[in-house]
């Protein structure tokens, strides 16, 4: 191979002559006109030897040398110097120039310099070759060594593993061996799904299955856990059901672990199955117990809410959720009472305070706006810290009980109340009779007449009171018939007018003659309206400051109803009196009130499918507006002849009239 040589000189003559001479000596000659040019050619062709003039315009020879050596330390650079350039020549050698020759160029000197450069190049190449060889050899030897070591290690691992497995298989079946006492079924299955080893418990429960297909052990048709592990190459866990030697099912939790052979294939599968019968039974029991408790909780015939310290509901039963359209997250007082702050004397708060159960009777409002009497009992739920964490509020609906109790106490009150009223009436009756007797004895016509009028009126009052009591004592069927509104209203007015007149109260009626007819039980409706009218008289009597009162009894004909409006200028009623107006035994009239009258009025009007409205202002008067339908609701229209009518019963006689 011929060396390539780059000849750098700014003198074209030298480049030509020297170039020809070098080419003749067998070199590939490249030329460059200056330093810059030389760097470009060097970069493009990488000549092994550079022959350069030391003095050139532009980049100097010395500078070129430095650049070339920086680019390739192994390039051989021979400097051409002129006379008196000795210092530059020495400087060049310091910068690792191969040699220098002087101008005019002596052919021998050049040959020696080139020869030296050639030798250096050759030696360097040999050295490089040798080094590379050595490295390759080391690599080869190291790789061989490594492979040998790996083979050895793999064999040792494989030997160890197979020894381990042999031990495992051998000891698995051993009575009292390492696996004998383990409370689980351990077996090893080969690639074909045959059991090759099993522990003692396994043998006890399933019989000797060695050499048999593991498939037969499993209930169901799915792949066995071993088959799954074999297919995936990975261990896993699954629930399965095994069949013992008597065909009984044993629910198990199976863990599998594949055992690989030297080729990395699954050779065997280790199966460990844990009997979960007890666990499952406990879990099932727990689940059913929880379900039973939940059911009890939900179906308990009371409202149950469990609240935290903020009185926020943590848990509520079905009854509660349905009754109050509320549940966890809401405040109990909002759910129960529609309040925005805790209730007074809250029993839950007390239980949080002292850890003891408390109870309270209260009234709650259900989702549909019904008021229910409830007995709230609380019970603390103690947390792990020993503190009361939650409180259970159980509210028993005692509305019916209260109703019954109210009715019972009503009956008791009825006796007391009516006894008192009757005593008053009897006294008044005595008065009438006294007057009548005195008039007769002393032949005083005015006394006789007045006494007789009083007696007649008082007997009417007693009759009405007795009817009221009977009405309350037994809600009777309506003895209805079609009545003329005008005639009926006139009768009612006539019943009430004397009492008003006796007190000097103006009593006005406004009864249109053409008000038509309506269906009603004349006696009871009449009694109901008279009760209201008499109350108006009492209200006007009590009001003395504004002079004699005025009562208006106005009848208005509506399309499907009749309206009776009773207005008085009496003392009026405060809010509480208005609210309790129709409550049994509520009276604002002291001894003269039985507290039955308006209760009965309201009952009668409701039974007729009618309404009663009250507006009142204290010190100004009251207005009662009674609306009764012209036609009775069908459910109250029983056939009059179906009424029980004992012979001689005046009600029965009247009912017969209606036919």
């Amino acid at each position: 191979m011929s060396e390539s040589i780059l000849l750098v000189d700014d003198e074209e003559g030298i480049r030509t002559v020297l170039g020809l001479s070098l080419a003749e000596d067998g070199y590939d000659v490249l030329t460059a006109v200056d330093g810059e040019d030389a760097l470009r050619v060097f970069a493009a062709h990488a000549p092994a030897i550079v022959l350069t003039d030391i003095k050139m315009p532009g980049l100097s020879g010395l500078e070129l040398l430095k650049r070339l050596k920086a680019a390739d330390p192994e390039v051989e650079v021979i400097m051409i110097t002129g006379h008196g350039d000795m210092e530059l020549a020495i400087e060049s050698l310091k910068n690792d120039a191969t040699d220098f020759i002087t101008k005019p160029i002596n052919a021998d000197a050049l040959e020696i310099a080139l020869k030296r450069a050639g030798e250096r190049l050759a030696m360097r190449r040999r050295l490089k070759e040798h080094t590379e060889n050595l490295e390759r050899r080391v690599h080869e030897q190291a790789a061989k060594l490594l492979a040998a070591e790996r083979a050895l290690a793999a064999r040792q691992v494989a030997d160890g593993l197979s020894a381990g497995i042999r031990t495992l298989i051998a000891t698995l079946g051993e009575e009292g061996g390492a696996f004998g006492d383990m409370p689980c079924f351990i077996s090893i299955t080969d690639r074909d799904g045959r059991i090759i080893a099993a522990n003692q418990l396994h043998r006890e429960r399933f019989g000797n299955r060695i050499g048999l297909d593991a498939r037969a052990l499993y209930a169901g048709d799915g792949p066995t856990p071993a088959a799954t592990a074999l297919a995936s190459g990975r261990g896993h866990r699954e629930n399965a059901v095994l069949l013992d030697k008597n065909g009984r099912e044993i629910p198990v939790l199976v863990h599998t672990a594949p055992i690989l052979n030297n080729d990395g294939e699954v050779e065997l599968v280790l199966e460990v199955a844990v009997d979960v019968t007890a666990v499952r039974r406990l879990r099932d029991e727990l689940k059913s117990t929880q379900a039973r408790f939940r059911q009890l909780f939900d179906e308990a015939p009371c409202f149950i809410a469990v609240v935290n310290r903020d009185l926020r509901i943590a848990e509520a039963n079905r009854h509660f959720k349905q009754g109050f359209a509320s549940g966890p997250g809401a405040n109990c007082y909002a759910a129960y009472m529609r309040r925005d702050s805790p209730c007074r004397d809250c029993p839950a708060v007390k239980t949080f305070d002292d850890g003891a159960p408390h109870h309270q009777e209260t009234v709650v409002m259900t989702r549909d706006g019904q008021r229910r009497n409830v007995l709230v009992r609380t019970a603390p739920i103690i947390g792990e810290s020993g503190e009361v964490e939650l409180v259970m509020e159980m509210s028993l609906d005692i509305t019916e009980l209260r109703r019954l109790q109210d009715r019972l106490s009503s009956l008791g009150m009825l006796i007391g109340s009516t006894a008192h009223g009757i005593k008053g009436l009897l006294t008044a009756l005595d008065g009438g009779i006294y007057r009548l007797g005195f008039g007769l004895d002393h032949n005083k016509k005015d006394w006789t007449e007045e006494g007789f009028a009083d007696v007649r009126h008082l007997v009417g009052r007693i009759r009405k009171m007795v009817l009221d009591i009977l009405y309350y004592a037994k809600k009777r069927e309506l003895a209805w018939k079609r009545l003329s509104v005008a005639a009926f209203a006139a009768e009612v007015a006539a019943l009430a007018a004397p009492k008003a007149a006796a007190r000097g109260i103006v009593f006005e009626t406004d009864i249109p003659a053409d008000a038509g007819t309506f269906e009603a039980d004349a006696d009871t409706v009449s009694a109901g309206l008279v009760n209201i009218l008499e109350n108006a008289v009492d209200a006007c009597t009590a009001e003395r400051e504004r002079g004699p009162g005025r009562i208006t009894f106005a009848v208005r004909s509506l399309a499907a109803a009749v309206e009776f409006r009773i207005t008085d200028t009496g003392i009026g009623m405060d809010r509480e009196t208005q609210d309790r107006l129709f409550t049994l035994f509520f009276s604002s009239k002291g001894s003269s009130g039985t507290g039955i009258g308006l209760f009965v009025s309201n009952q009668v009007i409701q039974q007729h499918g009618g309404t009663i409205e009250v507006s009142s202002e204290e010190g100004k008067g009251s207005t009662f507006t009674v609306r009764l339908p012209r036609e009775l609701p069908p459910e109250v229209k029983i056939r009059p002849d179906a009424l029980p009518c004992p012979p001689g019963d005046p009600d029965g006689a009247r009912a017969a009239d209606a036919d």
């Binding site: 008192h420 005593k423 005595d430 006294y434 009597t541 001894s591 009130g593």
Partner: protein, 128 residues
């Protein structure tokens, strides 16, 4: 001079009755239908005796009695309680009698007659 009796009862028929009984036996009467009204009538009419109902709509009998006895001039006026309430004997402790409705008019006349004559005798023979 005829003695004057104040009849207090909220039932006008009862008032009329007692008034009738008393007037036919030579007494003068005045009446009221509740305690408040009774106090006004008392001051105006200055009666010699009072029949008092207990339960009345505006102001009950016992309250009227307390107010009455706080007035020096009226503190000794004898009171007969006539009420429909049972167990009334302690309602007004110093009442000369308590009668339950319906009452016996002769008994009432007897009590009133005895009470007033005792008072008259006491007034004529002041204690030494």
């Amino acid at each position: 001079m005829a003695r004057k009796i104040l009849v207090v009862d909220d039932d006008p028929y009862v008032v009329k009755y007692i008034v009738g009984v008393l007037e036919t036996h030579g007494y003068q009467t005045c009446s009221a239908s509740d305690g408040a009204q009774a106090l006004e009538v008392l001051k105006r009419e200055k009666p010699d005796m009072v029949t008092l109902d207990l339960e009345m709509p505006q102001e009950w009998g016992p309250r009227f009695y307390r107010k009455m006895t706080q007035i020096k001039e009226f503190e000794d006026i004898p009171v007969v309680v006539i009420s429909g309430l049972s167990g009334i004997h302690h309602a007004i402790r110093n009442a000369v009698a308590s009668m339950q409705k319906p009452f016996d008019p002769d008994k009432l006349l007897e009590i009133i007659g005895n009470t007033l004559s005792e008072r008259e005798n006491a007034a004529e023979d002041p204690a030494p």
